[in-house]
């Protein structure tokens, strides 16, 4: 807990809150611009709004995860503080504190985005409103893949001082994740941001004959959720050990 507070103390004046608000705003503006085309009081407005989420989030939230992960690690690298910190903290503690810090920022951003979506849906008077529980479930399904990306990027960002590598990795993951949304589920399972699509209860289908995009709901895929948790846990475990071995 103390270690977590220290991570936030190190990020003072780094305007991370601006990054969080900006990201949530960006997602909302993007999704709102397409919702603007949906009629007021539409019966599947919320569903079609949420169906955009995987695409928007796999671009924006994945990169957001890479940015905050990289930022948290860059702070220590730039200050050349690791050799001092690791005399006072276990590598695993430092690693975990940074992860929890990223998770906190991700949760806040996703909460803002979800809240914004709920407000937008209410404003447009969509009749297919979701309950608080359903919105919360949606939020958790966005946090999961985002946090997994953050964990992967952190592994690289802590190990190497030059943040270009970690950000390029974040971009590659984002690109791969976005593309994977157009592929069968087996491909989506391979990339962390593919889970934005897998865990979404709203799917889109495009009818070639009528050229109409429609959205439909599917039941929650628990198997994929468990798989994501397993992948995330493995990444964290391996990279934590990898970091502990790093010599300064």
């Amino acid at each position: 807990m103390c270690a977590l507070m220290l991570e936030f103390a190190k990020l003072r004046r780094r305007n991370v809150w601006l990054i969080c608000f900006g990201t949530a705003a960006l997602c909302l503006i993007w999704m709102a611009s397409s919702a603007a085309r949906t009629a007021q009081g539409s019966s599947d407005g919320t569903t079609s709004l949420l169906s955009m989420a995987p695409i928007v989030n796999s671009i924006v939230l994945t990169l957001f995860a890479a940015v905050i992960s990289s930022q948290a690690c860059e702070t220590d690298h730039e200050a050349q503080a690791l050799k001092e910190l690791l005399c006072l903290q276990r590598p695993a503690t430092l690693f975990a504190a940074k992860l929890v810090c990223s998770l906190t920022l991700i949760t806040i951003t996703v909460a803002l985005e979800t809240g914004g979506l709920a407000i937008l849906a209410a404003y447009k008077g969509f009749t297919d409103q979701l309950s608080v529980v359903e919105f919360a479930a949606f939020a958790i399904c966005q946090i999961g893949p985002t946090f997994t990306v953050a964990a992967v990027v952190q592994a690289v960002a802590l190990r190497w001082e030059n943040q270009f590598v970690s950000l390029a990795l974040g971009l590659a993951l984002s690109l791969a994740g976005l593309f994977s949304l157009f592929f069968p589920p087996v491909i989506q399972r391979l990339v962390p941001s593919g889970y934005f699509g897998l865990l979404s209860c709203v799917r889109m289908s495009w009818d070639a004959a009528t050229h109409v995009t429609s959205s439909y709901t599917v039941p929650f895929t628990w198997g994929d959720a468990v798989l994501l948790v397993a992948i995330c846990a493995t990444v964290i475990a391996v990279s934590s050990v990898w970091f502990s071995r790093k010599e300064l």
Binding site: W30, A66, F164, F182, F183, A208
Partner: protein, 244 residues
């Protein structure tokens, strides 16, 4: 003097071969794009146009700008590290030359990505059995994209100078691109530096710039590039002057 500044930047590049990312990104986009094209042959029409869209849509609208952002962060990074301002002030090379050198290198790296995109486009097209070769239009698209990209490189260099972190400018690049997407749909794209590259590239299959727009296009590129570079140089000299 100019060559000196340029050589210094290229030297840094040699030691940290980040340009590799500028080849890998188009490669990923091409690989997945081609695969996607193959999978959806029943939905899409056959042809070079659709393959181009598959390859470049996401790359040019979001990821290449973000990669350019990362590259510019890296280029500016050495000026932030260890407060090299005293060194800058005593260096015989004028600050604006340093900015121009960075601009040239940044544009060069973008050129690598665009060239890779073009090459991979032709190779993948032949691999999936497309007949003949793509028309010269595509070369025009790439060249215009490169010109448009110069404005983006210049603006990102300024962003990286102002924002001291490495990662944040990459986020700003993405935000700029998304905003560019939204602005383009309203017809304002030609005034937004992040949208210029994607507008010229025909990545969404909607056609590239009309000949009438070319003058305005080049003008806007020049405006943003010169303005951003000048502000960069002024800020650097101010920082150098105010530090001890």
């Amino acid at each position: 003097m100019m060559m000196q500044a340029l050589c210094a930047e290229v030297d840094k590049l040699r030691r940290a071969p980040i340009w590799i990312a500028y080849v890998v990104l188009p490669f990923i986009a091409a690989a997945i794009g081609t695969f996607n094209y193959q999978q959806n042959l029943d939905l899409l029409m056959l042809g070079w146009e659709n393959l181009w869209t598959q390859h470049t849509l996401f790359e040019f609208y979001f990821f290449l700008p973000a990669l350019v952002g990362a590259g510019c962060s890296w280029l500016m990074g050495l000026e932030h590290a260890g407060s090299n301002w005293n060194q800058l002030l005593t260096s015989p090379v004028a600050l604006w030359r340093i900015v121009v050198a960075k601009l040239v290198v940044g544009t060069g790296m973008l050129g690598v990505a665009l060239a890779a995109t073009g090459a991979l486009f032709v190779v993948c097209g032949k691999m999936v059995g497309l007949v003949g070769f793509p028309s010269c239009d595509y070369v025009v698209y790439l060249l215009l994209s490169w010109v448009g990209g110069v404005a983006m490189v210049a603006v990102q260099l300024l962003v990286s100078l102002v924002v001291r972190s490495f990662a944040a400018p990459v986020g700003i690049a993405l935000a700029g691109s998304v905003a560019g997407l939204l602005l383009s749909s309203k017809g304002w794209g030609l005034w937004w530096p992040w949208a210029l590259m994607s507008l010229a590239s025909n990545a969404n299959g909607g056609g590239t710039l009309a000949p009438a727009e070319l003058v305005r296009f080049v003008g806007v590129v020049a405006l943003f590039s010169i303005a951003a570079s000048t502000i960069c140089a002024l800020m650097m000299s101010h920082a150098a002057a105010t530090s001890e």
